[in-house]
């Protein structure tokens, strides 16, 4: 057993470009973190012949095969047949699972189409994997030394079934011990993180970087608890001041929200170039009404004056994209919504509107705390969407620093911005 896997995505929808295959990247990442290498990935049509062919090719390449899709109650049921043919087994009706499928519909008080019972057919000897989120069970089967797992296609169902697969893989395979720590960093470019970490000469742990426009996630994977502790002792020194979370998928909006809720403090925002994107992210978090009072998208100068009290003279003298205007937007949001914290963002997202003195990408971001107001000046790279995403992410980053330290000036900023008056 060499801890290699092949992933097979099954579905005509995907081969025709109707759907982007997010299941594959999810599975690839989970397997990688478990110590299983994905050697190759296939996407094949939902037809018996192709499912059989892909399973057969996979056998030559790995001992673990994971498929997603093709398990719905379609009349032709190609995936199950392809698996049965590959295994050299008959499809048999699993009464126990048929009961579960019936119960699923009863709980929801909807009549069950008879076609759904096709999902209770499994190759002889295969084991159904329960699916709490839908009716299609996963399937677990073996052939010689090979393990085959079939997962349903809808992402929420796939993830629900894969959780039990992870347990099976951990039990069945001599996986190398894996001890992981995740640093969710913000405000430091990947290249700088890389240099910092390279200088530490960390042994016995592998370090992966997952960058996005909103920050860099760093995964530390070690073969023993001791090795991980040793690595993270060194990494903590570097990364803790820049890590807002150590939990996969936890967003900084959530971390900030929890801090505000705990302190019974509130937030309001004033956005120009981001145009509601920041408020939208904040409201993505369930329960944000506990601390988020609202925002103004002050896209016009008049709106900046009227809703936020930005001074007309400053708009004329310094322009809408300027430090004084960002400051007055943050302070105006705080004052007019009556919140404890305020954020102001004003910038030039492009593609047009830039000048030699004020280029596309120039953005001023301000955070008003209960004590004082900070403004930072940035020139972001990228297209309109990238500039706006970076702007909103940087505003959250600055607020997070303010909530953590009270004072932004003590933070070791590495994000290319500078404090502005």
């Amino acid at each position: 057993m060499d801890n290699n896997a092949v992933i097979i995505t099954i579905g005509d929808e995907i081969l025709r470009g109707r759907i982007v295959d997010t299941n594959f990247s999810y599975l690839a990442k989970r397997l990688y973190l478990m110590g299983i290498d994905v050697r190759i990935h296939y996407t094949v049509p939902d037809r018996e012949e192709w499912v059989w062919a892909a399973l057969s090719e996979a056998t030559e390449r790995a001992d673990i095969v994971i498929t997603t899709g093709g398990l719905g109650p379609t009349p032709d049921d190609a995936t199950r047949k392809g698996l049965a043919r590959f295994l050299g087994k008959k499809l048999v009706f699993d009464n126990r699972f048929a009961q579960k499928i019936r119960a699923y519909f009863q709980r929801r008080n909807i009549p069950m189409p008879e076609s759904n019972l096709v999902q209770a057919y499994l190759p002889e000897g295969a084991v159904p994997l329960e699916n709490d989120e839908g009716t299609a069970p996963g399937i677990f089967a073996r052939k010689d030394s090979m393990m085959i797992v079939m997962l349903p296609g809808p992402p929420n169902e796939m993830r629900a079934v894969f959780r039990s697969v992870e347990l099976i893989l951990k039990r069945e395979i001599a996986l190398p011990e894996r001890h992981t720590k995740i640093y969710r960093t913000i405000g430091v470019p990947e290249s700088v993180l890389y240099e910092w970490i390279a200088a530490e000469e960390i042994a016995g742990a592998s370090i992966s970087y997952y960058p996005s426009l909103r920050g860099v996630d760093i995964y530390v994977v070690a073969g023993s608890k001791e090795a991980r502790e040793k690595a993270t002792a060194a990494l903590d020194k570097i990364l803790l001041p820049h890590s807002y979370s150590f939990t996969e998928d936890e967003r900084i909006e959530k971390v900030i929200g929890d801090m505000l809720r705990e302190r019974k403090q509130t937030l309001a925002v004033a956005e120009s170039c981001t145009g509601g994107k920041l408020a939208g992210w904040i409201v993505d978090i369930p329960g944000s009404s506990d601390y988020f009072l609202g925002g103004v998208v002050s896209y016009s100068n008049e709106a900046k004056e009227k809703f936020l009290g930005v001074r007309h003279e400053d708009l004329v003298e310094h322009g809408a994209v300027s430090s004084p205007v960002a400051r007055q937007m943050a302070e105006g949001a705080k004052k007019h919504f009556g919140s404890d914290y305020g954020i102001g963002i004003t910038g030039i997202a492009g593609p047009t509107g830039g000048t030699p003195k004020k280029p596309v990408g120039l953005v001023y971001i301000s955070v008003a705390t209960p004590e004082r107001t900070f403004v930072r000046r940035y020139v972001f790279n990228g297209n309109r969407d990238a500039v706006r995403t970076r702007s909103a992410a940087t505003a959250l980053f600055m607020l997070w620093v303010a909530l953590k330290a009270g004072d932004l000036t003590k933070h070791n900023f590495q994000d290319g911005g500078e404090f502005a008056e």
Copy 2:
């Protein structure tokens, strides 16, 4: 030549789940619309051995092979070597392309790392495909009856190079004639569209549905101009009142923006449960400052009163999620920003906050036109994110109907909502 293709994605990043592969679905859709079937898709590591193996397997399955990724200035240059080995050719330095790479850096005034010149190596006889968006050229090569196209991995570069590939494919392959029309519909569920269209018995054209939370795109593909005209004559009757565009990727925000700009009219929005998502979409469109004055995210009741003039008594008597409040939000946005049109959205996005009388998913959406104000009541399915996305999309839909017809009451709504007082 049987018009079949294989797509190969090259990259360790993708096999480890660091990146979601959107290039594949883009290419799959483009090829499908050209009349080329994608038979199978591989994702393989960025190593010579694997690139060679995937190309070799692809040969057995199709006459067109398209790869993405692996063309960057990496030191090991595995993709080019894998291609050269597959073709049985040497890599040779293309002077003309080296000049182009140098010029790319000169135009941007940045020094060129020497490693970039590796991108000027091509297998003997292969043709470089120009890349206006970056330094890695695409590569076009032949082996026997097989055409091989290699595209760079960054999506903007991949698309730029693929445009010239489309021209080559159209010239080189006896593609079946393809005549396409795209209807970008909004406000009608896929199942209803399907029933309407099924009743027409359209022959000689294939119809595909691409649904999203924001609407359903319908692609009509016919083998001759006449067949398309015949099909679309029937479809126009059904679909025109529900189609905001006939152009791929054109968003309804853009269509609305163009209508407003043309009429020299303006828009402002007031959002509660969508929390800035709608404003964010509107501002996604370059040039939106021509017609978008701004918005208020009135997440708290106080903000609804203070910034929008919603009456305190109505908030108390009807609650924040009610028709009178939605109406006053739309009218308040219009009045306070001084715009011609106003939108108001208030609802319960969940997961908590629902009651038997006001369940999760209940949303009131209002559009104030220069003449009068309309409110519609919806109960949307799905999780928090789906409810918010549907709400913002429906608001744009209602505004589009208002801009088109002046009066919402004449539209044949199929979206499950109802007019509210």
